[in-house]
């Protein structure tokens, strides 16, 4: 076996140009498949990472009017939607697959948060005690909200690091006072989202998504929020699912429950909906998958054509070497030996082509990611499958020529000069 391989490689080396041209179909096919698979994987990984964040499993269930989330502003309360009561919250927490629930209210802008006369441009949130845990924030300085802060309706604020750099360019923030709607709020702590979620910014839309949140967030207690913004705004809900797989179902179930309990007029335009990141990711992935599936088919056709090329050149090789085959048979080579020799040669040819194709594919994927700024991830299973497949092509398309060689009659073969 080993000697067969050695001989086959020698044969390939003896006909360098011919072998290379024969392999070209396989090289192109395999390289194309590796490139495509790497690009798909890279894109999918990025989509998932951007939309879901790794390990957070948080689904936001928010109030929608028609297809759009309701953006609360002053004096514009949604009709017939009530504030989520503690009982409802408990029912949410007891749902299967739910790890933790946090209720919050939010102003994307226009919250008029001032520090020394200049206005903060980020978002303002009124949160409960679970919020920081649900989203995986960790404390940098100061402290988090405590039970007595809520009971005593203290006017306190916590900032994230982006908000700190936007508001207090040089000052130490803890202990400073913000003015929110004319009320003073004391900054007690600074938080930061933990390392598990770092957005990848590669496109303009990534950047917009990031920029939206990059000016930072000011957090108030739910009670503190009510002082500044009023107590009757319905909350949004962040549901942390126990696992990524159940995110979708848990989110939907939570949305159904809230729509049933909170909205007095079910035929109206208001409804709670879960913002399903996994579903969005899958939709995006499916889109790229269907276009890429076409490309994989084209690459497959290239492999087929490459295989036929290998068969053709092996047939030529067999008839060129009729004499050699005749001699080998005269010296006592059985059919199996001749078959093995030519099959090994075909497989060596295609697997060498496959190897070059894999290297070329990795190189091309790398080049593409630099040139077009798309992410790629080399897929190890794809490489293993490509290598196995290229050997298989050799065996399949080598079978006919090798059988032809093995069946030769030694006298006729020897007589032909």
């Amino acid at each position: 076996m080993f000697e067969n391989i050695q001989q086959a490689l020698q044969g390939i080396w003896n006909h360098k140009l011919r072998s290379f041209l024969t392999m070209l179909g396989i090289i192109i096919g395999i390289a194309a498949i590796i490139t495509i698979v790497s690009t798909i994987k890279g894109t999918n990984d990025q989509i998932k990472q951007n939309l879901i964040g790794s390990g957070n499993n948080v689904v936001v269930v928010s109030l929608h009017q028609g297809d759009y989330p309701v953006e609360l502003s002053d004096g514009n309360l949604p009709q017939g939607v009530s504030v989520i009561a503690p009982e409802t919250r408990q029912r949410l927490e007891e749902m299967e697959g739910v790890e933790r629930v946090s209720l919050y209210r939010q102003r994307q802008w226009g919250a008029s948060v001032l520090y020394q006369g200049s206005e903060f441009s980020g978002k303002t949130l009124g949160v409960d005690q679970n919020y920081f845990q649900v989203y995986g924030y960790k404390l940098c300085y100061g402290r988090l909200f405590r039970e007595e802060d809520l009971l005593e309706h203290r006017k306190l604020a916590i900032l994230d690091t982006q908000a700190v750099s936007a508001v207090f360019s040089r000052d130490y923030p803890v202990g400073k006072t913000l003015e929110i709607r004319g009320e003073p709020y004391t900054v007690i702590g600074v938080v930061e989202q933990s390392g598990s979620f770092r957005p990848v910014i590669e496109t303009l839309s990534d950047y917009e998504m990031y920029a939206e949140s990059s000016s930072g967030t000011v957090f108030l207690t739910a009670q503190g929020w009510e002082i500044a913004f009023g107590f009757d705004e319905p909350q949004n809900v962040a549901v942390k699912a126990a696992s990524t797989d159940t995110m979708t179902t848990v989110g939907k179930a939570a949305a159904d429950l809230l729509s049933a309990t909170q909205i007095s007029d079910p035929s109206g335009s208001y409804a709670y909906r879960s913002e399903d990141l996994l579903e969005q990711a899958e939709q995006l992935q499916a889109m790229s998958r269907s276009t890429n599936r076409l490309l994989v088919w084209i690459a497959g056709i290239s492999l087929l054509v490459g295989g036929i090329g290998v068969m053709n050149i092996m047939l030529v090789s067999v008839s060129e070497r009729t004499h050699e085959i005749g001699l080998r048979k005269a010296l006592g080579a059985k059919r199996r030996k001749i078959l093995g020799q030519f099959l090994t040669e075909a497989a060596a040819l295609t697997s060498l082509g496959g190897l070059l194709g894999i290297l070329g594919g990795i190189g091309l994927a790398e080049l593409l990611s630099r040139a077009m700024n798309t992410p790629t991830a080399i897929s190890v299973p794809a490489i293993v499958v490509a290598a196995a497949f290229s050997i298989l092509i050799g065996l399949i398309f080598g079978l006919l020529p090798a059988t032809k060689a093995a069946k030769m009659n030694p006298i006729d073969a020897l007589r032909r000069e």
Binding site: E3, R328, G332, A333, K334, R335, R336, K337, I411, L414
Partner: protein
């Protein structure tokens, strides 16, 4: 008895026409024999050589080689017989051009399933016995015709065959090289080797111990060669 052919007939089919080539050929070869089969071209001597060498099967009659019935064997079994019992020497050497002298000689041993190390040792030994110990790594096209034929003889002898079967072994060589080959054959025969040689040259046939003539597909009785 090494070789026993009885009432062998062989015909080929050209389209639907049967073309008889050998008629009722009987031949016996004992161990240590050195037989030359002489005949002009078209006499059927190549067909006879193919039959003796188990490259072909007779249309009728029986052929036993080293006690084995050749006429009932199939393709793979014939290959095994050739590998085990026959050492071929062809007119135009038939060496594989991309392989060194040593690799060429070791080739039949590979098909006999001899392990690699032993194969190399035996091939080296065979090359020494034909006087080419300093040409082992050479490719055939770097060697003269006489040297190539000696490699071919080494290849034939490396498998320690029962019968050395030579088809016009000097046909492609000049007289001096031819003489060397004939000396080598005589040496092999003197060492106990059995040789059957096919030729049309009387001067070459004269090196054998016995001669048979073949003409129009019929084989004459063997005659002793007088020295």
């Amino acid at each position: 008895m090494i070789l026993n052919m009885e009432h062998i007939c062989k015909s080929y089919y050209r389209g639907k026409n049967e073309v008889p080539v050998l008629h009722d050929v009987s031949l016996r070869v004992e161990e240590g024999d050195y037989l030359a089969i002489m005949g002009p071209s078209g006499s059927g001597k190549t067909t006879l050589m193919n039959l003796i060498g188990c490259l072909d099967k007779p249309s009728s009659g029986s052929y036993h080689l080293a006690g084995e019935d050749v006429s009932v064997k199939k393709d793979n079994a014939l290959a095994e017989l050739r590998n085990k019992y026959i050492g071929f020497v062809f007119q135009s050497f038939y060496l594989l051009p991309k392989m060194s002298a040593l690799e060429n000689v070791a080739l039949p041993l590979m098909y006999a399933g001899v392990p690699k190390k032993e194969r190399v040792d035996r091939a080296r030994e065979a090359l020494c016995s034909v006087g080419l110990e300093d040409r082992m790594k050479f490719l055939p096209n770097q060697l003269s015709g006489g040297q190539c034929q000696r490699i071919a003889i080494a290849r034939a002898m490396a498998g320690r065959p029962t019968l050395l079967l030579a088809d016009e072994p000097t046909g492609a060589l000049d007289t001096a090289s031819g003489e060397q080959i004939m000396e080598l054959f005589s040496k092999i025969n003197a060492g106990g080797g059995t040789i059957v040689m096919i030729t049309h040259e009387p001067s070459i046939a004269a090196h054998a111990k016995t001669i048979c003539h073949i003409r129009d597909g019929r084989l004459s009785a063997p005659e002793e060669v007088r020295l």
